[in-house]
């Protein structure tokens, strides 16, 4: 086998892992393979993917974004609070809110030179306060009318395909294009792999980092909007317990937490792996007492299979 073929094969490992999981579950419960069910599972995964998609850029820098969960909750509140007043404009305001959070993270990381772990944790705290403020500390319902007028693009169904899936695929295509076809995407990879050399080449690294955080904030914001649309409400805790699963699916997909190596489609597959494991346990009928244990073990095994060790010299 040539190096190129091996490389290709290594890249496909996450997909094989996913297929193996799907087939494994189908062996217990053939109903899992029904197209309708597969579409549903994919649709259910999309909010997780959206949240992780932008954060993939940040992780590829070798940084981390811990604010995505708070951002998603916040945009859900902004959206729900403003939809009755502003209609569609509320969508833009909510997205802008997500992007602003990213801007703040970017600024804090770049200009105060604070490690992203702390910076984004702090910005996440601020966003949670904004969410409480915007929502007046409670869940805000989105009326069916507003939902069907303004949010059908996110939650409707066309030709049997849930719109979440369409949104997810559009994001997948767009972000993949940015990561692999643009100079910005290349520089994100470069910064993650050898930041000092990129600096010495006269690249404004701060700008790259800044935009990576903005994309992450924007995507978390979009995730919050889709979540709000699906659940019909905004709430300051809407995206609770999403953070670690989101980062987990980035890594399960095979993106290196140390930066430099990764891609959006891997995150997409990673999100599906996580979702399939989770939902699969319900399908297979694993008792809930054992689910957490099984989930933990499968996570570790999945990563052991999917990460490409030829690209990282030390595993930290």
């Amino acid at each position: 086998m040539t190096e190129k073929q091996k490389e290709l094969l290594r890249n496909l490992v996450p997909i094989f892992t996913l297929l193996a999981l799907v087939l494994g579950i189908a062996a217990f419960e053939p109903g899992f393979l029904k197209p309708a069910n597969l579409v549903t599972v994919t649709a259910d995964t999309m909010t997780l993917f959206l949240m992780a998609s932008g954060a993939t850029f940040v992780i590829m820098l070798g940084s981390i974004d811990l604010s995505i969960q708070a951002i998603a909750s916040m945009t859900s509140c902004i959206l729900a609070a403003l939809l009755p007043m502003f209609g569609g404009t509320a969508l833009l305001i909510a997205l802008a809110g997500g992007a602003t959070a990213g801007v703040l993270s970017g600024l804090v990381v770049n200009y105060f030179r604070i490690p992203s772990f702390v910076a984004t944790l702090a910005i996440g705290g601020i966003m949670t306060s904004v969410a409480f403020w915007a929502s007046n500390e409670r869940s805000i319902y989105i009326s069916d009318e507003d939902k069907s007028t303004w949010l059908n693009w996110a939650t409707g169904t066309s030709v049997g395909i849930d719109h979440e899936v369409v949104v997810g695929l559009v994001v997948l295509a767009t972000l993949s294009a940015i990561l692999s076809l643009t100079r910005f995407g290349r520089l994100v990879r470069a910064v993650g792999s050898q930041e000092r050399a990129v600096v010495a080449s006269g690249i404004n690294v701060n700008r790259i980092k800044f935009f990576a955080f903005v994309i992450s904030g924007l995507m978390a914001g979009l995730a919050g909007i889709v979540m709000a649309a699906r659940l019909g409400s905004g709430s300051p805790t809407l995206a609770s317990e999403f953070l670690l699963p989101a980062i987990a699916c980035i890594i399960v997909g095979g993106t290196a937490i140390t930066g430099g190596v990764g891609s959006i489609w891997k995150t997409f597959v990673g999100a599906l792996i996580i979702a399939v494991v989770r939902i699969g346990m319900t399908f297979v009928g694993i008792t809930v007492l054992a689910q957490q244990i099984v989930f933990g073990l499968v996570l570790v095994i999945a990563v052991a299979m999917t990460i490409d060790r030829t690209k990282v010299s030390v595993v930290k």
Binding site: E137, Y141, R230, S233, G285
Partner: protein
């Protein structure tokens, strides 16, 4: 195929929900049907995805007794159930404008407890234990959580009724978390010291956290603490004279009866469409337990009949 019975709730790692699940299991045993537990882990999306997966797997031949992670989730869950012909009963959380009678027959009922009312009662018990006056500190649940909001409201109403004899020194949310309550209580001891005559907590875990912070300072038992939920820890603390009260919800009943009702609707034992509203949205009985009645509470007959659906109902749910 056999109909599947299921319970969906936040997690198995707290006594309230663990008992809730046990109630469901008991009922399932009594009718000899397969039983399953789903947990949301505090994540609405996961809760929904699991319910969808269960409905897909059973082809809709399922009864689910759900304690939704957040009220809006109820609407989506009901929608899913309707679409697939599954039956659901919801607990605690639902939007005010979502009603079972608008979704016959799949949305069987909503069961809850009067958050404001019971909270008012337990606060009065606290005020009594304080001797009717003085400052209290109050620990709330997650700010935006519906039960947390209701309980806080009830507490505030009870305090307002004292015409200023009792003041709320401070209110802080501890997100239902024991350790957070412990730390907040410590800070309060610095800030207010002996001004604190009573501690109100929106659930027992946080009450116990506050109690342990008091114990650290040798003040356990000298400052009354109340909680809500009726956990074993709180009941023992009441017996030990360290807590002034709690509210027992009877999760065995909500777990078992919720499924029973759901099962009855699914099997046609009752025609939900024909039932009055007070049988579709009703409060259960929350018992305020204090040192005065703890002995009676311990010896009460807690058993109930699965076919006497509304015996423990205390009336139709009221919206503020």
């Amino acid at each position: 195929d056999d109909m599947t019975l299921a319970i969906s709730m936040r997690s198995l790692s707290n006594p309230y929900h663990a008992t809730f699940a046990r109630g469901g299991e008991e009922f399932a045993k009594s009718v000899g049907l397969p039983f399953e537990v789903l947990v949301t882990e505090g994540n609405s999306e996961k809760g929904l995805a699991d319910i969808r997966a269960l409905i897909a797997r059973t082809g809709g031949n399922v009864c689910i007794n759900v304690d939704p992670n957040d009220s809006p989730d109820a609407a989506t869950i009901v929608e899913e159930a309707e679409g697939a012909g599954a039956y659901v009963v919801t607990q605690w959380n639902k939007p005010d404008d979502l009603h079972p009678w608008d979704h016959n027959p799949n949305y069987v009922a909503h069961m809850s407890f009067s958050g404001v009312g019971t909270s008012k009662e337990i606060t009065n018990a606290l005020i009594d234990a304080m001797g009717g006056e003085g400052g209290i500190v109050a620990i709330g649940g997650i700010l935006s959580n519906v039960p947390a909001i209701e309980r806080k409201l009830g507490m505030e109403q009870a305090v307002a009724d004292t015409d200023g004899k009792v003041q709320i020194l401070d209110f802080q949310p501890a997100d239902w978390n024991e350790t957070k309550a412990f730390e907040i209580m410590q800070a309060w001891l610095t800030r207010y010291g002996d001004e604190i005559k009573g501690v109100w907590a929106a659930n027992d875990s946080m009450g116990i956290g506050a109690l342990e912070a008091l114990r650290q300072e040798g003040k356990a038992g000298s400052v009354p603490v109340t909680g809500i939920d009726g956990t074993e820890a709180a009941l023992s603390a009441i017996e030990a004279g360290e807590m002034a009260g709690t509210v027992a919800w009877d999760p065995m009943w909500t777990g078992g009866m919720g499924l029973s009702l759901c099962h009855a609707a699914a099997t046609g034992a009752i025609d939900v469409a024909a039932e009055p509203h007070e049988h579709r949205e009703f409060y259960g009985t929350g018992i305020v337990v204090t040192p005065a009645n703890i002995a009676d509470f311990r010896t009460r007959d807690a058993s109930f009949d699965y076919n006497d659906y509304w015996a423990k109902s205390t009336g139709q749910i009221q919206y503020q």
